[in-house]
Amino acid sequence: MKILVTVKRVADYNVKVYPKADGSDVEIANVKMSMNPFDEIAVEEAVRLKESGNATEIIAASIGVSQCQEVLRTALAMGADRAILVETGAAPEPLAVAKLLKALVEREQPDLVILGKQAIDGDCNQTGQMLAALLGWGQGAFASKLTLGEQETEVTREIDGGLETLILKLPAVVTADLRLNEPRYVKLPNIIKAKKKLLTTLSPGDLDTVLAAQLTTLKVAEPPKREAGIKVADAAELVAKLRNDVKVI
């Protein structure tokens, strides 16, 4: 069984981002970049499936600028076998990413594609579902548990109010939620080994895919700031304020 896993390069989880001075977009020049945390979970799941003998090959794919090679090397160090970068200019929209991934799927013929459920920059939460739609495959979005069979996979999903379990025909698309697993720390020898693994670079043209944008960002701004309130001495004072001043209890 072959698994395709996708990784996106995003501003690091711990970095605070700001609008550009002219408010036209997000300022990400000189910001520390890392692998999208949900994609780390996706890679980890693929590697565990291989370690447990359920998968034979893991291909990591990224779409974006040339520096995305860094996050692909991280995926290789975690245990992916080889990597593909589809080099594009500025960040393509989720639909364009899904189209490029569809073309990669047709080329590589994986039995399972695992993506992070959302990227923490755009917070779109779209690409996996879009890819499944374009392929006509089943989708296990927001997965917290994945059990792989020969013809089918059982996916437990995080839904509002609890959990839902679906059975998907293979091939299928799964998007990783937080509780699917806890990604491993990459060890130095694996980082060195990853440098020797195959990383192929393709262009959208190589995949016969034309990227069309349908969204224009007009403005990026910080939301109105909430003012800090006051400190109260104890529970009695708090209850009095909530009852008498703001009347919420």
Binding site: I120, A133, G138, A141, L178, Q214, L218, A228, K231, I249
Partner: protein, 316 residues
């Protein structure tokens, strides 16, 4: 301009409140609004949709394979209907987030996630980077496929309308996914996203037992119980309690945060609450920067005191 289609989220018998918030977003776009209720024996939810004032028409698609709202099957139905509409809206709940990108891809259009504002028929405001920034985005797609953050739009009225209910044929099942089972958290407390008051705990709660203190206070206040990701990761609370970028987005009238430091990912889920109370032993915790009322102290001392004070309180 063409009409707007709102995809109802429902349990076949009744509508989920987020549907009413989505209708309200549709009203701020402007135009004739239709509601699609796709389910199994869903006449109850269709009738509830018809009672929303200002709805022109309710479409009801009833079929066995819509019983569990599988995105694979619903997306085919909606994409078929969507060609007659300028906008297709659904709530940005796990239901809408699972479904709408699939609809958009079938229509070969982009999708707008989690809008919090409507500037015009083609321009919308949506949070990015866990809500630390707001992007104003213009969409050139012929059909705008949108999910709506329910806390950003007041719920539309639920009674008074008399829209006609029209039956639409179900689409053939895709046959790639089937429902196996569901485990829903059983609770007597109000649903997190609909609660007027939320009492929430973080890593500072120290244990699952610590949450018992919060639950007692929640029951005094008729509140829901929430948690930060740190508390969920530590196993103190179930995942569906989680509030934040990767959990639920809420905006209750009163949010009480106990032992929550206030990571940006958590603030993303609750910073639009009307009144925020923070209880934390660390005076420097970022949560105090957005709290209306803060108590610096050991929550294992403060929470029992709060319980006792609330117990003394005469009914409002």
């Amino acid at each position: 301009m063409k009409n707007i289609l709102v995809i109802a989220e429902h349990d076949h018998a009744t509508l989920k409140t987020a549907t009413l918030n989505t209708v309200s977003a549709a009203q701020s776009i402007g135009g004739e609004i239709h509601i699609l209720v796709a389910g199994n024996n869903c006449a109850g939810a269709a009738a509830a949709s018809a009672r929303i004032p200002g709805i022109a028409k309710v479409l009801q698609a009833d079929a066995g394979h819509y019983a569990h709202h599988l995105a694979e099957d619903l997306a085919v139905l909606i994409a078929g209907l969507a060609k007659d509409y300028s906008h297709v809206l659904a709530p940005a709940t796990t239901f809408g987030k699972n479904l709408m990108p699939r609809v958009a891809a079938l229509l070969d259009v982009t999708q707008l996630s989690d809008i919090v504002g409507v500037e015009s028929t083609d321009t919308f405001v949506r949070p990015i980077y866990a809500g630390s920034l707001l992007a104003t985005v213009q969409c050139s797609a012929p059909i705008k496929v949108i999910t709506v953050r329910s806390t950003a739009f007041a719920a539309a009225a639920s009674e008074g309308g008399t829209a006609p209910v029209e039956t639409v044929p179900a689409a053939a099942p895709l046959g790639v996914a089937r429902f196996a089972r569901q485990e829903l958290t059983q609770s007597e407390r109000p649903e997190l996203t609909a609660a007027r008051i939320v009492v929430s705990g973080g890593r500072g709660m120290g244990s699952g037992e610590g949450f018992k203190l919060l639950e007692d206070i929640a029951d005094q206040l008729g509140a829901a119980v929430g948690a930060s990701r740190a508390a969920v990761d530590a196993g103190f609370a179930p995942n569906d309690y989680q509030i934040g970028q990767t959990g639920k987005i809420i905006a209750p009238e009163l949010y009480i945060a106990a032992g929550i430091s206030g990571a940006i990912q958590h603030l993303a889920g609750m910073k639009d609450s009307k009144i925020i109370v923070a209880i934390n032993k660390d005076e420097e915790a970022p949560i105090f920067q957005i709290a209306d009322y803060g108590i610096v102290g050991d929550l294992f001392k403060v929470l029992p005191e709060l319980f006792a004070e609330l117990d003394k309180l005469p009914p409002a």
